[in-house]
């Protein structure tokens, strides 16, 4: 008996202490933690949280310690015929343990209410950056109404400027959440919700949908890149440009031929056509670029794109194919006829770090895998398997990756 | 008042209860409390959605106050018949009891008739269950009320049949009283609906 009790008495405070240690020590190992706030909003609510933690811990220690003491002190002693006195109550004690928690709660409630009104104060400040967020099953659209920028799954914000969000949804309820920068705010049909925060430290932050929204709810991530003001301006500059254009409507070769030599038919014609509109591409040296050029070892050879396994794609052919296929029904590429609203804006998809809402790094291999069969990679994905042939995929990938 | 404790007949629920209140009447009041929450949820839904329809017909275009006033009056009157019916059976006056009970039933049927007329009239005018939010919330709220009236009518008819077969006596007043409670409750729900849905359109 006593042995058991002692092991029990060791267990509880240990769990509590271990918990605290881990709580403080591990914060920096978690890229998506709420415990390392990087905006004034996140700091405010973290402050309230830590406040509740300390009071909670105090209550916890008192109750559990009292419990352990009583268990030890008043355990039945062997052989004792003790007849405990029948006490039925004690009014002053009852009042005491009614009032004490009430006081503690008041200490929690006051900063809580203050923080509620501070964090929900929607008075505009000069220099607010407005962002409209639209949740979709299962990706995020970001619009900067004042900057005329539309993008998906990758939110760029300048450090030090307050970002004010209008939160909406195209289908079901989702929840907009960047743990290090702010708490959650749901996006709800027929409602426009709001949240704001000022990012304080440049860097990349991950966010994730936090309301069950169907099959691939777990795969509805996004990232926030907090830039220096200059980088942000450059980014905006680039995003406002229309997409890289490929004039010549190169017909994609029939499958049989293309298998033999997909790369040969296209490059000569498209190279000249594309050159003026794609200045960013020019520095790439014509011969095999070093493997470091893109993370997964893709190399740009002229305008064609070759990657693992020697797959070669022609961006101009891809551009033409894109315009001819179902893609345009769902995707927008500014400067082209593609004006679809169902899927992410692809105007600058090549400049993004990940595809399909954080699912995969944006490498040619991964884009190819995606185009091959989206729902296989992301169950339920609303982009169907379009039964593209490998060489079509190669061209499309080359095109999409060129859309920096 | 002496409690019957005799084991020979001591199944607690057939004897006096600890509050002295009849089990069925007690449970019925609890049931009515529960029904308050039921109708409160429906009425809240109706009110919350008031003015939120994205297309017509809208309430003002379609609700017919004079007609509904008459059916409201009819339901109020049936409540009066109901109390007189109860008073009759408590006195043991079975003939009067049957008369007033029939009045209640007829009153209920008239109310249902009005509702059928109203619903079909609305559908005619293009307001259906699925037409807009007003249609959905209106039909579901008044429909649930109408269902309650219909259940009440069936219940009262059962009592009438029992009494015509000679199975109702003064001792069965409690059966009538409980049916009456239900009937009056349906009436007060209508009092609220009439004001909230029709007059405060």
């Amino acid at each position: 008996m006593p042995a058991r009790r002692r092991s029990r008495s060791r267990l509880l405070p240990l769990a509590g202490l271990a918990g605290l240690a881990v709580l403080s020590a591990c914060a920096r190992n978690y890229p998506q933690t709420t415990l390392a706030p990087k905006s004034e909003f996140a700091r405010t609510i973290d402050g309230v949280f830590m406040h509740t933690v300390w009071w909670g811990l105090a209550v916890f220690v008192i109750v559990e310690a009292l419990l352990l003491y009583i268990m030890f002190r008043y355990r039945e002693r062997p052989g004792s015929q003790a007849k405990p006195e029948h006490v039925h109550g004690h009014t002053r004690l009852e009042i005491a343990w009614t009032v004490a928690p009430a006081i503690i709660l008041a200490f929690i409630a006051v900063p809580t209410i203050r923080a509620i009104f501070v964090t929900q104060d929607m008075t505009p400040l000069g220099g607010d950056l407005k962002v409209r967020v639209i949740g979709h099953q299962w990706w995020w659209q970001f619009q900067y109404p004042d900057l005329h920028v539309v993008t998906a799954n990758e939110l760029h914000l300048p450090v030090g400027a307050r970002a004010v969000f209008d939160l909406e949804t195209a289908d079901v309820i989702h929840s907009f959440w960047i743990p290090e920068l702010a708490g959650k705010r749901d996006v709800i049909p027929r409602h426009v919700n709001h949240i704001w925060f000022t990012p304080e430290v440049p860097g990349t932050y991950t966010g994730q949908c936090a309301e069950l929204c169907g099959t691939s709810h777990a795969r509805m991530g996004f990232r926030v890149i907090v830039d220096s003001p200059e980088d942000f301006r450059a980014w905006v500059e680039n995003q406002r440009r229309p997409a890289v254009a490929y004039a010549a409507p190169t017909p994609t070769p029939a499958p049989a031929e293309s298998e033999a030599a997909p790369a040969e038919t296209a490059p000569a014609e498209s190279a000249s056509a594309a050159a003026p509109a794609a200045p960013a591409e020019s520095p790439a040296p014509p011969p095999a670029a070093p493997e470091t050029e893109t993370p997964a070892g893709a190399s740009a050879r002229g305008d064609t794109l070759t990657w693992k396994g020697g797959v070669v794609g022609d961006p101009a052919a891809g551009a033409a194919l894109f315009q001819r296929s179902a893609c345009v029904a769902c995707h927008t590429i500014s400067g082209t006829a593609a004006k679809g609203q169902v899927g992410p804006d692809l105007t600058h998809v090549g400049s993004r770090q990940r595809i399909a809402a954080e699912l995969l790094p944006n490498t040619p291999e991964n884009v190819a895998r995606w185009l091959h069969d989206p729902p296989a990679l992301k169950p339920g994905a609303l982009m169907p398997n379009l039964n593209l042939k490998p060489e079509q995929i190669a061209d499309l990938v080359a095109y999409l990756e060129s859309l920096k | 008042m002496r409690r019957a404790l005799a084991p020979a007949h001591a199944f607690a629920m057939e004897t006096e209860t600890s509050t002295g209140l009849n089990n069925r009447k007690t449970v019925f009041w609890a049931f009515l409390g529960s029904e308050c929450m039921f109708f409160a949820s429906l009425i809240s839904t109706y009110l919350v959605y008031k003015g939120r329809s994205v297309s017509g017909p809208y309430p003002t275009e379609i609700l017919d106050i004079p007609v509904t006033s008459i059916s409201t009056f009819d339901l109020l009157t049936s409540s009066l018949s109901m109390v007189l019916c109860l008073a009759a059976i408590e006195r043991g006056d079975i003939k009067k009891f049957q008369f007033w009970l029939s009045c209640v039933i007829v009153g209920g049927l008239i109310f249902l008739g009005f509702q059928v007329y109203e619903f079909s009239h609305f559908v005619h005018k293009g307001l259906t269950l699925s037409k807009n939010l007003f249609g959905s919330s209106f039909f579901v709220l008044t429909g649930f009320h109408g269902t309650h009236v219909a259940v009440g009518v069936l219940w009262l008819i059962s009592l009438l049949v029992l009494s015509l077969r000679g199975n109702m006596t003064k001792a069965d007043a409690l059966d009538v009283e409980i049916a009456g409670l239900y009937w009056h409750f349906v009436d007060i729900v209508w009092i609220i609906i009439f004001t909230v849905v029709y007059l405060l359109e």
């Binding site: 009790r5 267990l11 039945e76 029948h86 708490g183 | 449970v27 949820s41 269950l129």
Partner: protein, 644 residues
């Protein structure tokens, strides 16, 4: 003083003998209690198995053990099963078996309605789980997968085609009827069937909490009934309640659901609190400290529970005023809850504590529920909750209160009342093993989830990227869950061994004070040969330890609400008959409750057939169900309750 008359010696027909038919038609509250208990425990195993599958999937990042569709189905069914098919009916089992015994009654107020509740519950549970069968037969989207609170508009036909949501909504609707029927029954039973002298303020606290829970059921379930009706109309009859395109607002669902849902969580915890309030005094050998305060705080928890629902919606943007109001009302509930905790501690203080398994679980309840309550307080601060909501921090909170609270409390009740129900003792050695493995495994499973939540792991995700570093604590949690499964197996072994060769318990193995221990174990089917007369809160202690008696008999039986006397009756004269030992008449078995329940379950199947098979099939099946139900109810109304 010795006003409690001994029951007949055990020369009555055994309580549990009889064929299947006798169980199907039984109206005996004890047998129905056993049916509830066994059924609910089986569903606890099902829900636990679902949890284990989820935990295996989450054990490592990017795991492919389950696909996302199955995973969504599993947590939806896990939550729904645990709440509606395990904890609520386990509570109902305890109400059924114990409340009539505790108040000195021979049965509940409406024995056949009681049987009806059980059968409706069983059929509703089978109905809900039939969805797995339909899936196995090859139907897509057949299993509910929108979470246990099924937020609109994900549940609309557009976003949830197939019958998954239909199984869920009709399943809950059927289960709701079972709960409502039981709620009415127990409310009236406790008000009206108390033995002479058993004034309200002499009732055992478990009975009190049953009464509060019954009231909560009666007032909370109509709201979800309406919410589900609206959803049904949307899905089958083209209404627009939750369809944004036509002006509907999905937030309405959230409000209606949580107006029900928060009282529901107190429906889940108060029975456990009642049990703990019985176990602790018994094994401390002291009366409950502050009885009246414990009772009133239980009532207060129930009342306040209606004013806090929107604390589940802090991230929906209700605005600062609503956030602040609901935050404060939520925090207020900590006060009456704390009062209970402190009164239990004060009960143990100065006692002579026997660490039986039941007592260990009761103490475990205090320790673990306090932790869950504190994380609840952290949620109740909206700014803090913006980070916690929909993360594993909530999952941790809800398991600390539901497992650490309700389940540990129910286990305490299991160990405490098992001898009364079966007549045999459980092994204390296995019991202690069960207790310690449960405590360790439980904390291993759920404590790390606090860290996971705070470090950014959302709930309801079937997998997570390795970059996020969630792997380690998830693995710990998974190991804990598997251990928890093992601990449940220990419990089952203990129960089976006890049934086979457990020591005979006797009437009152724990020297407890309340009336259920005055009759034999198991009790005769009429409970008490002579209805006891009660003169205090602790009748058996007064009898066995008269020297310590404190309570004084009162002159009147009063129904007091908020300090006002609502009704009164006189204390009966001592009547000369109480010595006679006739076997009392008890209600007859009846087959009509099960028939009515069957009809009730058939009706919604017709509605579900409407989309594919059209209106005639819908009407045919539904009307068949309604007619069967009507036949059942009419026949039951006309069938006499007992012979003369």
């Amino acid at each position: 003083m010795t006003t409690i008359t001994e029951t007949l010696p055990a020369a009555h027909e055994p309580l549990y003998r009889g064929g299947v038919w006798s169980w199907i038609t039984t109206v005996d509250h004890k047998r129905i209690g056993v049916l509830y208990g066994v059924t609910a425990f089986l569903f606890f195993l099902v829900g636990g198995l679902e949890a284990l599958l989820m935990r295996i999937q989450l054990g490592s990042p990017e795991n492919t053990f389950l696909d996302p569709v199955t995973y969504n189905e599993l947590f939806t069914m896990h939550g729904t099963t645990m709440i509606f098919l395990a904890i609520m009916p386990l509570g109902a089992a305890a109400f059924n078996f114990m409340v009539p015994l505790q108040i000195g009654a021979r049965d509940v107020a409406f024995p056949r309605l009681n049987a009806f509740s059980y059968w409706v519950f069983l059929f509703g549970a089978l109905f809900l789980n039939a969805s797995f069968l339909v899936k196995a037969l090859g139907s897509a989207n057949a299993v509910p997968d929108a979470g246990w609170f099924g937020y609109a508009n994900l549940t609309s036909r557009q976003y949830s085609p197939g019958h998954g949501i239909d199984f869920w909504l009709f399943g809950l609707q059927i289960l709701g009827i079972a709960s409502l029927a039981a709620g009415f029954n127990f409310l009236v039973t406790i008000l009206n069937l108390r033995a002479p002298g058993m004034s309200l303020m002499r009732m055992p606290v478990f009975t009190w909490m049953t009464m509060v829970v019954s009231t909560l059921i009666v007032l909370a379930f109509p709201v979800i009934t309406v919410a589900l009706f609206l959803l049904m109309f949307d899905r089958f009859f083209g209404t627009n309640f939750y369809i944004p395109a036509h002006g509907g607002d999905p937030i309405l669902w959230q409000h209606l659901f949580w107006i029900f849902g928060h009282p529901e969580v107190y429906i889940l915890i108060l029975p456990a609190m009642g049990i703990v309030s019985e176990v602790i005094p018994t094994f401390s050998r002291k009366p409950l400290f502050g009885y009246a305060v414990v009772v009133y705080s239980g009532i207060l928890i129930g009342v306040l529970g209606y004013g806090v629902w929107a604390h589940h919606m802090f991230s929906t943007g209700m605005g600062p005023i609503a956030d602040a109001v609901f935050s404060v009302t939520t925090m207020l509930i900590a006060i009456p809850t704390g009062v209970k905790i402190f009164n239990w501690l004060a009960t143990m203080w100065g006692g002579s504590i026997r660490f039986t398994t039941a007592m260990c679980f009761a103490i475990g309840f205090i320790a673990m529920f306090t932790m869950g309550g504190i994380s609840g307080i952290m949620h109740s601060s909206p700014p803090a909750d913006l980070q916690q909501t929909d993360t594993y921090f909530v999952v941790a909170h809800l398991h600390y209160v539901l497992f650490g609270g309700s389940i540990l409390g129910l286990f305490a009740g299991f160990y405490y009342w098992w001898p009364k129900v079966t007549g045999r003792l459980l092994s204390e050695r296995l019991g202690k093993l069960h207790f310690w493995t449960t405590m360790i495994a439980f904390n291993l499973t759920f404590f790390p989830q606090h860290f996971l939540g705070l470090n950014g792991m959302p709930r309801r995700i079937y997998t997570y990227s390795a970059d996020l570093n969630f792997g380690f604590w998830n693995l710990v949690s998974t190991i804990g869950a598997l251990m928890l499964g093992a601990s449940v197996l220990i419990f089952m072994v203990n129960a089976i061994l006890s049934l086979r060769r457990g020591a005979i318990a006797g009437d009152n193995p724990w020297d407890a004070a309340t009336l259920e221990w005055s009759t034999s174990s198991p009790p005769p089917h009429y409970n008490f040969a002579v209805i006891p007369r009660v003169t205090s809160r602790l009748p058996l202690w007064d009898r066995h330890h008269p020297e310590r008696m404190v309570d004084r008999p009162e002159d009147e039986l009063k129904v007091v609400v908020a300090g006002k006397t609502l009704a009164r009756t006189e204390v009966p004269d001592d009547d000369g008959e109480s010595g006679t030992h006739h076997v009392p008449h008890m209600p007859n078995p009846s087959k009509y409750p099960v028939i009515a329940a069957l009809g009730l379950t058939i009706a919604p199947i017709g509605v579900m057939l409407k989309p594919e098979h059209g209106i005639p099939v819908f009407l045919a099946v539904t009307l068949t169900g309604v007619l069967i139900m009507a036949y059942g109810i009419y026949s039951w109304a006309l069938e006499p309750l007992e012979d003369h």
